[in-house]
Subunit: 294 residues, 2 copies
Amino acid sequence: MQYQHFQKQFDAFKEQINRYLIKYLDAQMSTSPDIYEAMRYSLLAGGKRLRPVLCVSVYELFKREIASILPVACALEYIHTYSLVHDDLPCMDNDDFRRGVPTCHKKFGEAYAVLAGDCFLTEAFGLISQWPDSAEMAILVKEVVNASGGKGLIAGQLMDILSENQDVSCDTVEYIHEHKTGKLIVASVRLGAICGKATPKELEKLTSFAKSLGLAFQIQDDILDVVGSKELLGKNVGQDTKLHKATFPALYGLECSRQKLADAIEHAISKLEYFGERSRFLQDLTRFVASRAE
Amino acid sequence: MQYQHFQKQFDAFKEQINRYLIKYLDAQMSTSPDIYEAMRYSLLAGGKRLRPVLCVSVYELFKREIASILPVACALEYIHTYSLVHDDLPCMDNDDFRRGVPTCHKKFGEAYAVLAGDCFLTEAFGLISQWPDSAEMAILVKEVVNASGGKGLIAGQLMDILSENQDVSCDTVEYIHEHKTGKLIVASVRLGAICGKATPKELEKLTSFAKSLGLAFQIQDDILDVVGSKELLGKNVGQDTKLHKATFPALYGLECSRQKLADAIEHAISKLEYFGERSRFLQDLTRFVASRAE
């Protein structure tokens, strides 16, 4: 019952986000063949919209109406989607399926996939620049660059590639996850908080929450790669194992990974208690991350 | 004599830009293998720095000290370099040499080249976000997204790829050049003007100047691909012809292309006359573009 309520709220957020994403993309499409077709394909092929939902729901801790945060929230989905499209390329992870359908380069060819990723990344900053308070906007840009640049997402992806078929340490696994997944999840939460004009203390609590949530998310992702099925995940499972990728189960075993997941969830929720009952949705979201099958 | 004075000033701008680029990159390099090595390689392998020089010298029409504009100017070089690194990829133009040395993917592998390009693009916005006036900074972001997103550089690159081995119209050639080269040159000039707090009329004159300069630049580039040599250009010439690419000489013939070049130069310089003697450097730069051999 509780879970049903959460799911309804999650779907409501997701619907608003999807509506904005489609409206924004369709406004840019021209009649000539263009890159937005490939972008639309990659963006609308599925996806939980976890990052924009996080951003919007954190913003809602502070403000009632969420329409004005949608461009910023959707910028996070643009960054996430760019990283997936480029990561799937043959020279990177070489994945043929994503979210249950052929990856962008399998459908449109590699050139389109490179350019579609580039376009998501570029226009993410166009979305952010719509935030009306320009002093805050400058901070948002810095946060996103920090999370996704050469000290963030790109560093994680590089280390991930360099670690393939290597014996890696626990530190390396944690480095990859923190950079490849964690930092953008933290940024999603922080952007919602900054736009909501959170106090420094609130921002600190939410950042700490987001770090644990990001860790939990990645552990569950790794576990699913071992125990999930292609039907559930919409992508080839066992890919990580096949590529000898650094994962939590490979390093710690399945049981120990599950314990680490439970610890991360508990820590994340403890940070939300500061916000009381109004953080109910975020608490449920945290539990959802740990129990999700996709 | 006149030309020597111009060259000296150009080199002085270029040196300040290069110093800033190196300082900024080196501050980010870590001891572990990282993406900044590949970025450093691509950035420092040569290049005229035309876009940042344009930005700085337009800014100098309005302001005396240029140190504060350097991050913004260098962001334009980051965008330009990202586009070169990605354009050179095997799935795009498949070029092995650039600026006289092996292209990024030939030197570091394709995965590094994709990620280095992504990192240039991401961190370009980090550089722009350093501009202290945040209301102006928001405008700069919008200008750069407009020039380099799906209605700018990326649209040009896509059309370029789609036009290979096709009979193309004059309109298509102009579309490709305007989007692939023109818009970023216009943005370089406009960013310098916006940061210099140009009046709307000044901004309009400079925009018109930049459009003609961009056209001139591209015509000369196409001409050089026909008449240049590998030694002079540092890249394989005749590539455009080999790939049956849409170029001015292919469409209009060499003589008619030279006339179009002369017209564009004349138009560009006529727009600078509004600024009188203080636009001397920009006038010389325009003539330099038309006469350059690299």
